[in-house]
């Protein structure tokens, strides 16, 4: 635990679209793993590291995110000093639209108000359970200006990927964006550690050059000018870069090693609490290899699936390799395979939907089938 760093989470990523799934919400507000949103992991990592001041940088579609975080109570970030800050685009009164989003103004103000020497900056698309103690320690010991976390995933999670070329002393000497052929498996996690005043300087300079968008990797790219050190992370990392990688990441939770690393390593992942009743399994329920959240009613057969809260699966219905989000209702005599159903979707009796594991079917929020 340390108390010399603040956190900054980029709650969305303009380079990543999950199609219909990311229409209603920022990437970090994407439901994941039954009862979580993607952001819960990074927020918990920060809190479990002792960070008490966290900014969430958003630019649009932040309603869902704000519904979820509230005042940060679930993460003990509802504090009088510091705590959770949602940083929507800074729009001055003369602006007529948000397209000229001045993200950086708000961030710089937020950074200036803090007193901690370091900032941990993280993106919205990585899921891992860690604390940043050794990351910060390595940053201090390396004498680097900027440290970046990476692992050896290479390009296996698809684009966008940032491949790092790291020298023998651990310093970054090149970075490749979406390379056709990866020269190294070292892939950035988009998690940085740097001095707060350096981050303010970099952002102020970017603003002066007319940039308005915060890009984590535009900072890593400054390896010519600053000493950028790589820090290897060896635990489980899931990257959400596309519908496919979201689906694969969800399915990988059914593997013991992934689940144990993310959920049972002694560092809790906090999320908004809902006071749901337990899930009820009825007479003919058949369950296998699945994650199920509270408040569900299961009458049918479920295999290798991730079921969120308050889902109903009626009798004679078979669910296989599906991700079924909160409040979905699936009626009798259905067969669903390789399908992602967003919140509140309704499937009428007798529907048969079969996607391919490499190309799941996506049913949007609130859709009726």
């Amino acid at each position: 635990m340390f108390n010399n760093a603040m956190g900054l989470i980029l709650a969305d990523n303009k380079k990543i679209s999950l199609g219909e799934l990311s229409n209603p919400r920022a990437l970090s507000a994407m439901p994941f793993g039954g009862r979580y949103r993607i952001i819960d992991f990074m927020l918990s990592n920060m809190v479990n590291s002792g960070v008490k001041n966290v900014g969430l940088l958003t630019y649009n579609k932040y309603k869902s995110l704000m519904d979820h975080t509230g005042t940060g109570g679930a993460w003990s970030l509802d504090r009088k000093n510091d705590g959770l800050h949602i940083l929507p685009p800074y729009v001055n009164s003369e602006a007529t639209n948000i397209s000229s989003d001045e993200e950086l103004t708000g961030v710089i103000d937020f950074l200036r108000q803090s007193r901690t020497p370091y900032v941990i900056v993280a993106g919205a698309n990585v899921i891992l359970n860690t604390t940043f103690d050794s990351f910060i320690k390595s940053h201090e010991e390396s004498g680097a200006d900027i440290s970046v976390m990476y692992n050896r995933d290479g390009t296996k999670f698809g684009n966008p990927s940032y491949i790092l070329d790291i020298d023998d002393d651990g310093f970054v000497r090149d970075m490749l964006y979406n390379p056709a052929k990866a020269t190294s498996p070292k892939c950035s996690l988009g998690i940085l550690c740097l001095r707060r005043d350096l981050l303010i300087d970099i952002l102020a300079r970017q603003m002066a050059h007319g940039q308005s968008h915060f890009g984590i990797h535009s900072i890593v790219k400054m390896f010519d000018e600053f000493k950028v050190h790589g820090f290897e992370y060896s635990g489980v990392v899931l990257r959400i870069n596309s519908v496919q990688s979201y689906f694969n990441a969800s399915m990988s939770l059914l593997t013991d090693s992934v689940r144990n690393d993310l959920f049972w390593s002694g560092k809790p992942i906090y999320t908004k609490v809902k006071d749901e009743a337990p899930t009820l399994y009825f007479d003919n329920a058949e369950m296998s290899d699945s994650i199920v959240s509270d408040g569900c009613r299961i009458y049918g057969k479920v295999e290798s699936s991730v079921i969120f809260r308050s889902v109903t699966i009626a009798k004679n219905t078979t669910i296989k390799n599906c991700v079924i989000m909160q409040d979905v209702h699936i009626s009798e005599n259905c067969h669903l395979e390789n399908v992602i159903l967003d919140k509140n979707a309704f499937v009428r009796p007798g529907v048969r939907l079969v996607g391919h594991p490499d190309y799941p079917i996506v049913i949007g929020k609130g859709a009726g089938i």
Partner: protein
């Protein structure tokens, strides 16, 4: 049902009088209400029509848990307009492994099921290992049922670990040192919190596993007790 509404001043007076009476049991149902009736006070009954149950005995506590499974429409826990609020454990959603069977049961966050669970109510973070059978049971938070154990009609308090191949509950005939007809009935076995039950222990129906009970050395089934 033990739910009353009093006129404040009447109750205050009745309590003062009751306190002054050395023969009183200081009980609402036995003393306060009968005394008020005897004084000729106006007493109205309200007929409650929803689900209710007194859970003051082991068998009624067990039965009420089973009602969650058998009468889900009566004891409706999923009414969003009338949620039952509780402490929410910080645990992931429950996981049901590939060899597991779960039927007619209620499961909640943090549970990990690899064995057979039938007609049982499991609290948060219960683990049922491969080959274990849990039937008609009430398992409280953090209970672990090890490989090959077979439990029927067991009510197990928080954090107790049932060792491998333990046989316990209503299907085990006979009597043992822990048999307790005063507390247990209908074959129900009760386990104290924080115990670790020895591998292969056989526990007959109507047993109350209490670590304070003195039993002969060769009958000991408690391996250890967790003390907070």
């Amino acid at each position: 049902m033990g739910v009353y509404i009093f006129t404040w001043s009447v109750l205050r007076q009745a309590l003062i009088e009751d306190e002054a009476n050395p023969n009183s049991n200081n009980d609402f149902g036995k003393n306060i209400v009968p005394n008020l009736l005897a004084q000729g006070k106006k007493l109205c009954a309200y007929r409650f029509s929803g689900y209710w149950k007194d859970v003051g005995t082991i068998s009624s506590l067990w039965e009420t848990n089973m009602d969650i499974l058998d009468k889900p429409e009566e004891i409706n826990l999923v009414d969003r307009s009338w949620k039952i609020f509780s402490r929410n454990p910080v645990k992931p959603s429950h996981f049901i492994g590939s060899g597991a069977k779960v039927k007619n049961s209620a499961l909640t966050d943090g549970c990990r099921i690899f064995g057979d669970v039938e007609h049982s109510v499991l609290s948060e973070s219960v683990i049922v290992e491969k080959g274990a059978i849990v039937k008609d049971c009430v398992l409280m938070p953090g209970v672990v049922v090890k490989e090959g154990a077979h439990l029927e009609r067991c009510v197990i308090d928080q954090g107790t670990v049932i060792g491998k191949n333990v046989q316990a509950g209503s299907f085990v005939e006979g009597e043992g040192p822990y048999t307790n007809h005063k507390i247990c009935s209908e074959g129900i076995c009760v386990f104290e919190r924080g115990l670790t039950i020895k591998e292969g222990a056989v526990i007959p129906k109507n047993s109350m596993i209490d670590s304070d009970l003195e039993v002969p050395e060769d009958c000991k089934i408690i391996e250890s007790k967790f003390r907070a």
